[in-house]
């Protein structure tokens, strides 16, 4: 390998616009591409279903990171927004009879609209006040989901029919593999669009609002428009995640959208790295695998310390909280920063910097 990159010297506009600049970057992406392409053939259904859950979480976490990490508007309403996307898409498909792809688009649009409505108070609120206002929206949306008989036809849960894309119906035998492909494509699309969003003027204005909103408005950023656009775009992704969740899990009930889900998604972007798309991906994968790891570990330790095995849900909950605390204290910029440090260490070796 050539010497370490000392800076990026662009000689043409084309090279400046490229997503990946250096050879190691391209090599890493190629390796990653091969790995994700091979996964569905080597993993069994259990691990594939985890991968699918992680992919859906990735889309949702990217959406939340646009709002929280890039625009600095904290939201505790993620669970409610997921519910809006999920129920919209399920009802449009099964009761109105719109083909699934279009009802998913409908869910994205509607969730974005709901986000704008919730975002309206955000124009005047900051920090804690905004956190509580979004908490209120979470509570109200969840209440509607629980009480509005129309959504579940009074039975408390909603069955969603098997996904059908333009006449192609997923079959039972290859269910997880087919979903993996669909979700992988959508997650990659989400990551690409989000990355590119922050290379445009709109995306830059989001970051300006995060760093110092008064200064941003003094420089000509329209705060109202930036904040509302951020809420709409972010919730578009969240609505997509919700709709996919509906079609993938094929059953919806209010328990899937509680305040704990909102906190889980916030934990994903904290652990992964706030204000980075890659971080949202790392965080979503990490937080999906964490409970599985805890369960495996509990099986091993459980013989010696029975309390860990008997109180598994409590242990999972505790480890979850501890993960958030440890990351915030020791690496507030998350897994993404750790990965960068690893790269630096190898890149600069044998020197410190």
């Amino acid at each position: 390998m050539a010497a370490v990159e000392t800076g990026r010297h662009h000689t043409s506009y084309r090279s400046e616009l490229r997503l990946w600049h250096t050879r190691p970057q391209i090599v890493r992406m190629a390796v990653l591409a091969v790995v994700v392409a091979v996964l569905p053939f080597v993993l069994d259904n259990y691990w594939l279903s985890l991968a699918n859950t992680a992919l859906i979480a990735t889309i949702g976490a990217i959406g939340l990171n646009i709002l929280v990490g890039y625009t600095g508007q904290i939201s505790l309403g993620q669970g409610g927004f997921l519910a809006v996307g999920a129920f919209t898409s399920a009802i449009l498909t099964d009761r109105v009879g719109i083909p699934a792809p279009f009802s998913i688009i409908g869910a994205v649009v509607l969730t974005a609209a709901v986000g704008v409505i919730v975002g309206l108070p955000a124009l005047r609120l900051k920090g804690l006040y905004l956190a509580i206002a979004t908490l209120a929206s979470q509570m109200v949306i969840l209440f509607i989901v629980r009480r509005w008989g129309f959504l579940t036809e009074g039975q408390g849960f909603l069955d969603v029919s098997r996904l059908e894309v333009f006449g192609f119906r997923l079959d039972r035998a290859n269910f997880e593999q087919q979903w993996y492909l669909i979700l992988l494509v959508l997650a990659i699309l989400a990551a690409f669009t989000a990355t590119n969003l922050f290379r445009t003027g709109v995306g830059r204005s989001f970051m300006a609002v995060r760093d110092q909103d008064i200064a941003a408005s003094a420089m000509g950023v329209n705060l109202t428009r930036a904040k509302l656009t951020a809420f709409a775009v972010s919730n578009g992704y969240v609505g997509l995640a919700g709709a996919l969740m509906a079609h993938y899990t094929e059953i919806l009930s209010w328990e899937k959208f509680t305040i704990d889900v909102s906190i889980l998604y916030l934990a994903m972007i904290i652990v992964g790295g706030m204000g980075s798309i890659a971080g949202a991906v790392y965080g979503a994968v990490f937080m999906t695998i964490l409970p599985v790891l805890v369960r495996e570990a509990a099986d091993v330790v459980g013989g010696a310390v029975p309390i860990i095995k008997n109180q598994l849900p409590a242990v999972e909950h505790g480890v979850f909280g501890l993960t958030i605390i440890v990351f915030l204290i020791f690496e507030p910029r998350g897994l993404n920063r750790i990965w960068e440090r690893v790269k630096d260490w190898f890149g600069f070796w044998p020197f410190r910097y």
Partner: protein
């Protein structure tokens, strides 16, 4: 009329307990600027530590309360020293998230040792009911109001008159200026966390006595947020008014309309307040500079 009186007293007692819990929150926010999402878990820890001392260890009530206070102080100081001090200077979002993580850990610890089943505790406050204006009113609710009123009064006096209270207000006003006149900011931080944990302990034990010792205390703690937002986050009288309002509104809605709706009415009130006055009813408006 009879239902009205019963609902009024129950609402006032819930409101008084809420105000006490919220005061702990305001205490921490005022002195240290930290938004404590784990206040409900502090109530939980308080109720369960008292339960452990009083029922499991069979200690007399005064000793049990002392054990509760000891646990509360230790938890408060440890949390301040090891979790929040490293976070000084971080963004709002990080500090909110660290207390959310703390909330998970605390409730997980309680759940690991006590499970999710409600625990029975012998009544501390006198049971039975008296009739006021034709409505039957549980006596322990009346006592709960009295206890909360006394504790709230004591804490308010502490803030206004005592040496440490004045030091806390000075730190809340301007940390650097407080340091220059020789106030130990660290000690004030630890003191405010300990006091918040103690007020949560009293609120938690009172709540556990009028309801039950169970994990649901946490959900009650979540109602602290509508209260403090109404009160404006840093005002003690505002907290009391906010607590009583939220307690009354949710009881009346639950009694006259729909118990399920009562769970979210506080949040609807909250959104309405925020739409009209984004800094709460009693909060002071801050002018922001770049």
């Amino acid at each position: 009329m009879s239902t009205f009186v019963t609902l009024l007293v129950i609402g006032l007692s819930e409101g008084a307990i809420l105000a006490l819990a919220a005061l702990g929150f305001v205490l921490i926010f005022k002195a240290t600027g930290v938004i404590n999402f784990a206040q409900g878990e502090f109530l939980l820890i308080g109720a369960y530590s008292f339960y452990t001392a009083f029922v499991i260890m069979q200690l007399p009530i005064v000793l049990a309360l002392l054990v509760g206070v000891l646990v509360a102080v230790i938890v408060g100081v440890v949390v301040e020293r090891f979790i929040l001090r490293p976070m000084v200077g971080q963004s709002h979002i990080s500090i909110i998230m660290v207390t959310i993580g703390l909330a998970s850990v605390l409730s997980a610890i309680v759940q690991m040792f006590y499970g999710t089943q409600p625990r029975a505790m012998p009544p501390i406050l006198p049971r039975g009911s008296v009739s006021i204006l034709g409505g039957s009113v549980p006596v322990n609710r009346l006592w709960a109001i009295v206890i909360c009123a006394v504790v709230l009064g004591l804490l308010t006096w502490f803030f206004q008159k005592s040496r440490h209270g004045v030091a806390m207000r000075a730190v809340a006003d301007d940390q650097q200026a407080a340091m220059t006149v020789g106030i130990s900011v660290r000690r004030v931080f630890a003191l405010s966390w300990a006091l918040a944990a103690i007020s949560a302990l009293i609120a938690g034990v009172t709540l556990a006595d009028v309801t039950a010792v169970e994990m649901n205390i946490v959900n009650f703690g979540l109602l602290v947020f509508p209260v403090v937002i109404m009160g404006g986050l840093d005002s003690v009288p505002g907290t009391i008014v906010g607590g009583l309002t939220i307690g009354l509104v949710s009881q009346f809605v639950s009694g006259y309309m729909d118990p399920g709706l009562a769970e979210i009415v506080p949040y609807i009130v909250l959104v309405l307040v925020l739409l009209v006055r984004p800094y709460g009813v009693f909060g002071e408006k801050r002018i922001e500079r770049v």
